[in-house]
């Protein structure tokens, strides 16, 4: 009897020990991963240390591109299912939920459109229907746990949805680019989209060029927490290192930029131009003070514009410069000693080269013209005469020396080199047409930089936009870079006077504001299409600098396919409207 009882107790304890081992096996081996995660989440807390993208500032320290808080609205489907009313189906719950949040999300969608006040009622209804369908589709993915519903929700929008107290909806904080000046300097600033991994990525302009400096890298901090979730300070923390996005300060003068954009948008519309660009630059340093394109875009709504509009045409659109190039040809010719300002060109009539006949733009000829007269009449025959005096080698070398055919090195994404034929491909006709800016292509920035050489006494400066990179504890300043000296100071001074007379005695002398002494040159270049020039489609431009006594700015104005087609009727008036404002703004006295 005693043995029997003893055996039962032994078996009981054996089973107890076995069940204990079994339970331990279940916890330690079978359920290890789940429990390890649960334990970690109980005593460790991971917080995100945000490192926002650096800001882009104008020269007066105002924000051109900053950051603002935005939210990702998501749904936790199991939580929504948990909160179904008695007899309510999941699809009914989804309908009700969408009905509640849709008006708030629709107003956000509408605000994100280009010119929302101009959207027709029909288009609004379509937008709303698309939003409802999208929300319902996302919430119908019943096999998923977490579904994103709406990205870049504004802080007031988040607040409104929070007030609805809908169980199963949550918000994830994210940072969004913010452009307080709207479309101002959009071509310069660029925009921020996403890369293939969903990270912020700058495109075009400064956002693209300075991606590495601007990009911040968020980090995580892991710390031990107590039962109430509060951090325990006596326990060591581990953190990955965040990288701070750096602020950059630009050379952009907000007032100049605003003035330029205002006149460019007005005139671009007025002349019905396909596109247009203006660059204002400091000729002594190469600092870009303003750069604008027509049409422009709002970088905060970048995805609603086509690539053509987002492209920075001032640096990426190559075109034949036409007569504006005569200033470059004249400089090369004087500098090499091939001609002098008083050298007389016979200029009696058209020139015949091979099968081609070169004429003046108005078929009028001005025999025995000196350089000033050639520029005043924008005489193609005269410019061709200078190039012929130079010869191919000197002309090509001079053009390359001025920076044509290569990048200026400006710190903006998307710059093009322009088109300059290889030496062996230059025929006699190319030398003649090249003299007045046909058969070669340039960018507006290259032309501005070339005229800056004449304005500053002969030095080719590297154009730049960023004046400072601001780190946490220091400022790294950008010094102006002189690429090379191209022409002698005397040549530059002679060309300044010649270009001054080209403006004062030129086709559009009536429109020059009284007392304003600006040197420059108009250009009207027909656009080559299928091997032929279209006489009704032109690139009309004007490039000049002022005041002549001590040039403070060099400016290029360029219209593509304007009506009227001539530079003197389109680009030159715009140039002088902007120049008048600049004279007032900088307090430059007129004579």
């Amino acid at each position: 009897m005693k043995n029997w009882r003893f055996s039962v107790i032994k078996i009981f304890f054996l089973l107890l020990v076995l069940s204990l081992f079994g339970r331990l096996f279940y916890w330690q081996i079978v359920n290890y991963n789940k429990l390890a995660v649960a334990a970690t989440s109980q005593h460790l807390s991971t917080i995100r240390i945000d490192s926002p993208r650096g800001r882009i500032l104008s020269s007066d320290g105002n924000i051109l591109a900053g950051n603002q808080k935005a939210y990702l609205l998501y749904a936790l489907i199991p939580d929504i299912k948990k909160n179904l009313q008695k007899g309510e189906s999941y699809s009914e719950k989804v309908d009700e939920l969408v009905k509640q949040i849709e008006p708030i999300l629709f107003s956000e969608t509408l605000a994100d459109q280009v010119e929302p006040e101009k959207i027709s009622q029909k288009d609004k209804e379509t937008l709303e229907a698309n939003l409802i369908n999208k929300l319902k589709d996302s919430l119908s993915s019943e096999n998923l746990i977490w579904v994103p519903l709406f990205k870049k929700l504004s802080a007031p929008g988040e607040d409104q949805i929070k007030k609805l107290k809908i169980k199963g909806l949550g918000f994830e904080e994210e940072s969004e680019r913010f452009y307080p000046e709207g479309s101002l300097a959009s071509s310069l600033v660029g925009f921020v989209g996403k890369d293939s991994e969903g990270n912020d990525q700058g495109y075009f302009g400064l956002e693209g060029f300075y991606q590495d400096q601007l990009q911040g890298q968020s980090a995580t901090l892991t710390q031990e927490v107590d039962a109430s979730g509060q951090p325990i300070l006596s326990v060591e923390e581990s953190a990955s290192r965040p990288k701070q996005g750096l602020d950059i300060e630009t050379t952009i003068d907000r007032t100049v930029q605003y003035t330029v954009e205002k006149y460019l948008q007005e005139s671009g519309k007025k002349f019905g131009a396909k596109n247009a660009s203006v660059i204002v630059m400091d000729p002594k340093t190469g600092a870009i003070l303003a750069l604008a394109n027509y049409p422009n875009y709002d970088p905060g709504k970048w995805n609603q514009y086509s690539d053509d509009i987002r492209k920075n045409n001032a640096i990426a659109d190559v075109y034949e410069p036409g007569s504006t190039f005569k200033g470059v040809t004249g400089s090369i010719a004087i500098n090499s000693g091939a001609v002098k300002p008083d050298t007389i060109c016979p200029c009696t009539g058209p020139i015949k080269i091979d099968k081609y006949q070169v004429e003046t733009w108005n078929n009028k000829y001005n025999p025995n013209s000196n350089m000033a007269a050639i520029l005043e009449h924008s005489d193609n025959i005269g410019a061709a005469f200078w190039a012929q005096q130079l010869g191919k080698d000197k002309f090509i070398k001079g053009v390359k020396n001025f920076g044509f055919g290569s990048l200026t090195g400006v710190d903006l994404q998307g710059e093009e080199t322009g088109l300059l034929k290889a030496r062996q491909d230059w025929g006699d006709i190319d030398l003649v047409t090249g003299a007045f800016g046909q058969g070669l292509s340039v960018t507006a920035l290259q032309l501005a930089d070339a005229y800056a050489v004449i304005a500053n006494g002969g030095k080719l400066m590297k154009p730049y936009v960023v004046s400072k990179v601001i780190t946490k504890d220091k400022e790294i300043k950008t010094a102006p870079v002189q690429v090379r000296e191209i022409i002698k100071k005397e040549t530059a001074e002679q060309m300044q006077q010649l270009l001054l007379s080209a403006v004062e005695q030129g086709e559009a002398k009536r429109i020059i504001p009284k007392g304003m002494r600006v040197a420059g040159k108009t250009g009207t270049a027909q656009i080559p299409l299928k091997g032929q020039y279209d006489p009704n489609k032109t690139v009309a431009s004007f490039v000049g600098f002022g005041p002549i006594e001590d040039p403070k700015f060099v400016m290029v104005v360029k219209y593509v396919e304007p009506k009227p087609i001539y530079g003197a009727e389109t680009a030159e008036p715009t140039f002088f409207k902007i120049a008048s404002e600049l004279y007032n703004y900088w307090g430059i006295p007129t004579n």
């Binding site: 105002n62 307080p180 006596s234 605003y258």
Partner: protein, 112 residues
């Protein structure tokens, strides 16, 4: 015999001094240890519960940073030239038709 007695008395006297000395030291060390342990427990406890305070201040800093950024954005929006231009028009401000810039090489008032 005398010599032995003397030595014994000496040793006993020496032993007496050592006992008091060590017992005092032990008591002192004991009190010190207990004191340090208590202090350690107290400070560890303080440190552990101050996490809540730190967390509160961290949240507060985060909130202030967010407010600061929001105010900065509002300020830059309100001082944007497009906004100032439209506000100026609303207020009826007009642009001067002509601005004359005067060189100041000669003083405006030469003498009283």
């Amino acid at each position: 015999m005398k010599i032995i007695k003397k030595q014994t008395i000496k040793n006993v006297a020496h032993a007496g001094t050592g006992f008091f000395y060590y017992s005092k030291l032990i008591i002192f060390l004991l009190i010190l240890t207990i004191g340090l342990l208590t202090a350690r427990i107290y400070f560890s406890n303080q440190l552990a519960i101050s996490g809540a305070r730190v967390s509160y201040y961290e949240n507060k800093i985060g909130q202030l940073k967010a407010d600061n950024s929001s105010i900065e954005n509002q300020l830059s929006q309100k001082s944007s030239l497009a906004f100032v231009d439209s506000k100026a028009s609303q207020l009826g401000l007009v642009k001067l038709p002509k601005v004359q810039v005067v060189k100041s090489t000669v003083p405006v008032a030469l003498s009283q």
